[in-house]
Symmetry: C2
Subunit: 621 residues, 2 copies
């Protein structure tokens, strides 16, 4: 990716035009499930398969539905113009509820300054968005509606999205063998055991109980709603963010779209450099998935990088600024209490969370309690006026194996539990961020403590990395921890790329990180027994066994890479339909031999049947 040449507009136009090509999923159709009203159009993707051809017959293989995060980008019929943003999906739903008002102008001081700043005019999103806010005295969170017994269109949307037509497939004879799956083991989670149980009412109950969240800021109307909770499919987050050192606005938008192409369920914008307000606007207006941020990063930016100069007022203004742009969840490090900070002094790697170290420094400098903690109720007031969800940050998470599960980490976790209860008093949605480095034998404790002390609020974990010795492979060390903790009950996994600890990820790193986490999340869905989770595995394995090479590629998480790896050894077009593969060669193929074994066994059975009939159908002695 080239660095910005200052001509962001031109770069964005070029990017818009190239997106159709980027999103050419092989032999796939972007499809929609229509809900109870025509404006509920729930996306998924269907992968079409080749026929199974045997010497005697041709058998049709049914299309396989897969969860799809690509938004309009994955729809070849949609016209993409990044400068206009994505279509408005939720506006009517929010309007209909009648509990919000359109503001005459941005209410944050900083937002207003930026709108009126001629220096950043060329970076500004074309269309000025008029923000909404809850009317005085109103609460517009999904949790609030859920607790009042209201099923919102958002809830119905996510129910259909999680179910993904499996209710129909489970009754369709074409899928009879393909939907078979092993019993899961879900460590006490209340996973639906049949697709029919994945109803809007089930979603409402889970949201009302706080076990799941639907991050959906009323100012993010472009959003295709999704749900994060341990009784639903495991989700993954992809990060992006420019820093003072490198990367441009267009790069970040491109990285977001790229992440969606591979399957990111949410995106966190972790930018710390200049123009982060403008970058965020472009990202949200073009994001079909929830966007999360860490507002303290921008607040620090506004102090010129001096943590001691942070104030509640500055932070508050930043929250409002971002809430009115449409950020769906905020990481807030409100659990970094003054008394926990000295507990990190003897650690091998101290405090490694950026947010955590900022707040620790502030607390020590002022000899005061963390202002995010002392002003927590006021933060809740803002959150519920826009329906921004909390992602309660783990500022004291361990930065190495040695520091895992220590007093500082768990002290903060228990405080996050206390804050969860407080947020829920405001009907504000909450998830809890989890640890970065934990060896395998200590992973489970993190989940157990989180469930019990944070009352089953969704856990959102970074990895964890199960060893520190593999820089450049930390997507894998963390993927191992991620699959395990997701199996134990984590609702969303924050991806890690191969560049973790070393540098900023490029596009290939993002792709590798996302796919690694998609497979880890899927491994957990299988392990927990999510209904229909094994369908894609079964279809792919059947294709593999039948030498339908193209279907094997198409059904995989990364068809392009699978095909290119295959072609490195056997590039000829013929090899893709050949009944052997490069590992064994044409004469010596275990799958081919198995087919012969099957035919032989079938013949034997037939011979025995004939013999059986000849002998007068008596049972053999």
């Amino acid at each position: 990716m080239a660095k910005s040449k200052g001509n962001e507009a031109q770069e964005l136009t070029q990017l818009s035009e190239s997106l159709g090509i980027q999103f050419a999923y092989p032999k796939s159709v972007k499809a929609y499930i229509t809900g109870s009203r025509p404006d509920i159009q729930v996306p998924y993707r269907e992968i079409y398969q080749d026929d199974t051809i045997t010497p005697t017959e041709t058998i049709e293989n049914p299309p396989i539905p897969v969860y799809d995060t690509s938004g309009a980008y994955g729809n070849p019929k949609a016209a993409i113009d990044l400068k206009k943003g994505l279509p408005n999906i939720r506006g009517v739903w929010i309007d209909e509820r009648g509990d919000t008002e359109v503001l005459p102008c941005l209410s944050s001081q900083y937002g207003q300054e930026r709108v009126n700043d001629p220096k950043t005019a060329h970076l500004r999103f074309n269309k000025l968005i008029q923000p909404r806010r809850a009317k005085a005295g109103q609460n517009v969170t999904q949790m609030h509606y859920a607790r009042k017994g209201i099923i919102t269109p958002e809830m119905e949307f996510v129910a259909l999205r999680e179910q993904m037509k499996m209710d129909a497939l489970f009754r369709d004879p074409r899928y009879e063998k393909l939907i078979r799956q092993h019993a899961g083991f879900a460590y006490g989670a209340n996973i639906p055991t049949h697709p029919d149980q994945i109803t809007p009412e089930f979603v409402r109950q889970e949201v009302a109980a706080g076990r799941a969240i639907i991050p959906a800021n009323i100012n993010h109307t472009e959003l295709e709603p999704m749900i994060i909770g341990r009784n639903f499919r495991v989700k993954i987050n992809g990060n992006l963010g420019n820093s003072a050192v490198t990367s441009s606005l267009t790069e970040e938008v491109e990285k977001m779209v790229w992440s969606l192409r591979w399957g990111a369920d949410t995106i966190m914008d972790l930018s710390t450099g200049e123009h982060i307000h403008e970058t965020r606007e472009w990202i949200i207006r073009n994001a079909p998935v929830p966007i999360g941020t860490v507002p303290i990063y921008q607040a620090l930016e506004k102090t010129g990088g001096i943590a001691e100069d942070l104030t509640w007022e500055l932070f508050r203004d930043t929250l409002i600024e971002q809430a009115e742009q449409g950020v769906d969840y905020f990481t807030i490090h409100a659990g970094v209490l003054l008394r926990y900070v000295p507990l990190t002094a003897e650690r091998l790697t101290g405090i490694v969370s950026r947010g955590g170290s900022i707040m620790a420094k502030w607390c020590l400098a002022h000899h005061q309690e963390n202002f995010l903690y002392t002003h927590f109720d006021e933060i809740c007031e803002i959150m519920k006026a826009y329906d921004v969800s909390f992602s309660l940050g783990d500022g004291l998470r361990p930065g190495c194996i040695a520091d895992s599960n220590d007093e500082a980490q768990f002290g903060e976790l228990y405080t996050l539990g206390e804050l969860t209860a407080k947020a829920w008093q405001h009907d504000v949605q909450v998830m809890i961020e989890g640890p970065g480095h934990v060896p395998l034998q200590r992973v489970k404790q993190n989940m157990t403590e989180e469930l019990s002390h944070c009352f089953e609020a969704p856990f959102y974990t970074l990895g964890p990395l199960v060893t520190d010795i593999a820089p450049a492979y930390d997507h894998i060390t963390s993927g191992i921890g991620a699959a395990n903790i997701a199996w134990y009950g984590t609702a969303m996994l924050c991806y890690v790329t191969p560049k973790e600890h070393l540098g900023l990820p490029d596009k290939e790193d993002v792709r590798t990180g996302i796919i690694t986490y998609k497979l880890a999340a899927h491994a957990a869905d299988l392990a927990k027994g999510w209904p229909g989770a094994q369908l894609r595995d079964n279809a792919l394995s059947k294709a593999r066994f039948e030498f339908r090479w193209r279907d094997q590629f198409r059904l995989g998480l990364d068809p392009e890479k699978a095909e290119s790896y295959h072609d490195e050894t056997l590039p000829a077009e013929g090899a893709k339909i050949a009944h052997f593969c490069s590992m064994c060669g044409p004469k010596f193929c275990s799958m081919k031999i198995t087919k012969e074994v099957r035919d032989y066994a079938a013949q034997q059975m037939q011979e025995k049947s004939v013999e059986f009939v000849k002998k007068g159908s008596k049972i053999w002695s």
Copy 2:
């Protein structure tokens, strides 16, 4: 890698010359521990570290020892000539035992034919090796010696290798903080809790009990002995093998050396093409690690690929041929019984093991029981005459998630247990091969069944892959399963490369596969609490925290890749010693802030101390 141009000799010379460069581990010294006799020289590697430089002092960081599989290739002082092979390490030890004899010529018919075949003369290893065999009535297995109470030099060697000087380090004040580690959880394994417990006698006991094996054919005198058992470090195997479709002799030797460079503990030669006899000779003569094979592959080759034409006599001749070359362990699919074969007919992917499908086909064709099962005692006679270890093959392992843990798989496993007991009557060493595709929630059962039905014989597993949907990322899907099953008790993990299911791995794939499995094995060592396992993690994390970038690279499993990833973002030489990294930029760095927090906290403590003294040293109320 270029395809062979027929001039293997020239290619091997070029490869010999290039090996020194390939093996330049940064700031590392290949070191040796001398055992009770001067010819016991146990290799390891020491990674030297930079000093920690603070404004007030310079603190020396001690070297970190790591397990080393690189043999003479990792020793810059060793002269490598692939055409001569590696130095003879074990010859004297074997001689001294006085229970073997040097044979006048090769005893296998095929071996003799090959020696006398002028067509393959140009491919033949230069030095004719005179094979050894046990004298009549003698048993030369490590298990036999162990059961007689004899500690062989091989046992002492592996004890020192596993201990890796940790006994001394645990008493060295320079390592006091670095050796701290979390309590492990080993699922009932009898892991040493202190390095002092890793003694030759402990090794002898584990080998005598069959819980560990030392694969060490008396004809593989170039071997640096190693041990496979769940009460020792988890090991990994790397595969290589030419096939009828692609790859040459030099390529395979190069791949082996390359695998050792990254840390393969054993190598399986899975060749199926022509010249496999000659390729194997080159590999073994240049292998410091145990070499495993699947003799049925070569036997099938000899029948022209016709499974029905296999005979016990042909197979027996192949076993002797390979045993006299020095193969350390044989995969033998003796558990594929006639009655299990029909149990696979309804599977989604039938029989995917090559060996399993060959034997299944043979059984069905002849309506007879598997000849490997019926001749098992005779096989044991051969094994104990050369000390070849069994790797009892899982010919009916599942080839997809759907087929995991089924009746066919476990039926075979129970038969492998029966065969283990029989092999142990002959004092023949045994490990048990394990499943390829198993979802997370069913992995544990594999380990439990293996331990109970195979009497704790070491488990040697392929992966397992925890989902089928990620072709091109199967090193990761399997790495997740591998870390888990190794934690549960698997002794050795068979690596999987990104090309699994798609094609033959190239050098980069081999590297990725090995590193993935090294980190999975290490994650399990940490989880089980192997003494000293956390040292490398701690040292690397300390280096990371102190911005000793070079040490962070050097201490990692792949220093080259870590450094190149770092340099992609911040290529300047200065950045490697800079006190910030690309993720956050110079002003905004969580680790830098933590340092300030620490300094601040220390200052606070000092002020309080001064105050304390001023107030007359009274305890504060």
